[in-house]
């Protein structure tokens, strides 16, 4: 029995080696086409002018911010149930990417809403929820960082992700409830389903696909890095053991 169930991670690293370049290329091209098309070849909105084009970056990043956490939740569950090393490392790799997506969603959301609210940051439900999600990401990443024994860190972060998800979900509704309290109705928030003018529909889909593939590429890359780091640690431990 090797130091850890190595067969599976090694196979994963080989698979990543093969499919990383194609997915990276595909996501880059999807993003390029989607963004360029959305930016240049769509009519400005008669109400907001060209500001509406921010939706091509805001909606996909917001979507990925939430999907990244859901992926981490699934990966943590797999680790807790079947101790599948690659899945917990994938969760660990996805967290920073998810955090960046949340940051992007907040920044673009703030910029998009600025003309409407007159400030760069309005405490409206959507943006506030992203800020809360960002805190959850920070907590998760901090816990990985603080625990030295990686085996235990995997268990603890998985339990945190499970429990955190319940309260992240509750926070979403608490923020909605909190917002109704203020006189400002929901209409001002980005929640209102922007009736997506059909000209924007296709480029938006492209952007979403591009962002999703970008996420997948980054997670594959970072998971392979985590596996290599653990393997180096194993070899280093063996070298120290031999020297002793």
């Amino acid at each position: 029995m090797s130091v850890w169930e190595f067969a599976n991670p090694a196979r994963f690293v080989r698979i990543v080696g093969r499919i990383l370049a194609p997915t990276a290329l595909l996501s880059a091209s999807l993003l390029a086409v989607g963004l360029v098309w959305g930016f240049f070849f769509t009519p400005p909105d008669y109400v907001q002018g060209s500001a509406v084009k921010i939706l091509f970056v805001h909606v996909p990043s917001a979507l990925m911010a939430i999907n990244a956490w859901i992926m981490m939740l699934a990966a943590s569950l797999i680790w807790l149930v079947r101790r599948h090393r690659v899945s917990v490392l994938a969760a660990k790799s996805a967290a920073p990417v998810g955090a960046v997506m949340t940051l992007a969603a907040m920044v673009t959301g703030g910029i998009w809403g600025q003309p409407m609210w007159g400030t760069w940051w309005a405490w409206e439900p959507r943006l506030t929820s992203f800020l809360i999600l960002f805190l959850f990401y920070l907590g998760y990443i901090a816990l990985w960082h603080e625990v030295d024994d990686k085996e235990r860190a995997a268990d603890l972060t998985s339990v945190l992700c499970m429990v955190g998800s319940v309260f992240a979900f509750l926070s979403r509704y608490a923020v909605n409830f909190w917002q109704q309290g203020l006189h400002q109705g929901a209409s001002l928030s980005l929640d209102r389903d922007t009736n997506v003018h059909n000209a924007y529909y296709v480029p938006l889909l492209l952007c979403m696909a591009g962002f999703a593939l970008l996420f997948v590429t980054l997670v594959l890359l970072r998971t392979r890095t985590e596996i290599r780091k653990q393997h180096s640690a194993a070899i280093a431990a063996r070298i120290n053991a031999d020297v002793r």
């Binding site: 930016f39 084009k53 805001h58 992007a104 980054l218 780091k229």
Partner: protein
């Protein structure tokens, strides 16, 4: 096509710019840490072979 860039409000440029910056950052970071990890791994593996 680029002539019309002027009439775009500042927001759109800022939003696109910020997103590209953030995404670029995480991509660069990931690529760098991947390369570093591979280098360290190969280094350790050759060290281990030399010890044998």
């Amino acid at each position: 096509m680029f002539a019309e860039l002027g009439q775009y409000q500042f927001e759109v440029l800022a939003a696109y710019g910020a997103t590209i910056l953030l995404i670029g950052g995480i991509v660069a970071l990931s690529a760098a840490s991947s390369a570093a990890a591979l280098r360290k791994l190969n280094e350790l593996r050759s060290l281990e072979k030399r010890n044998e």
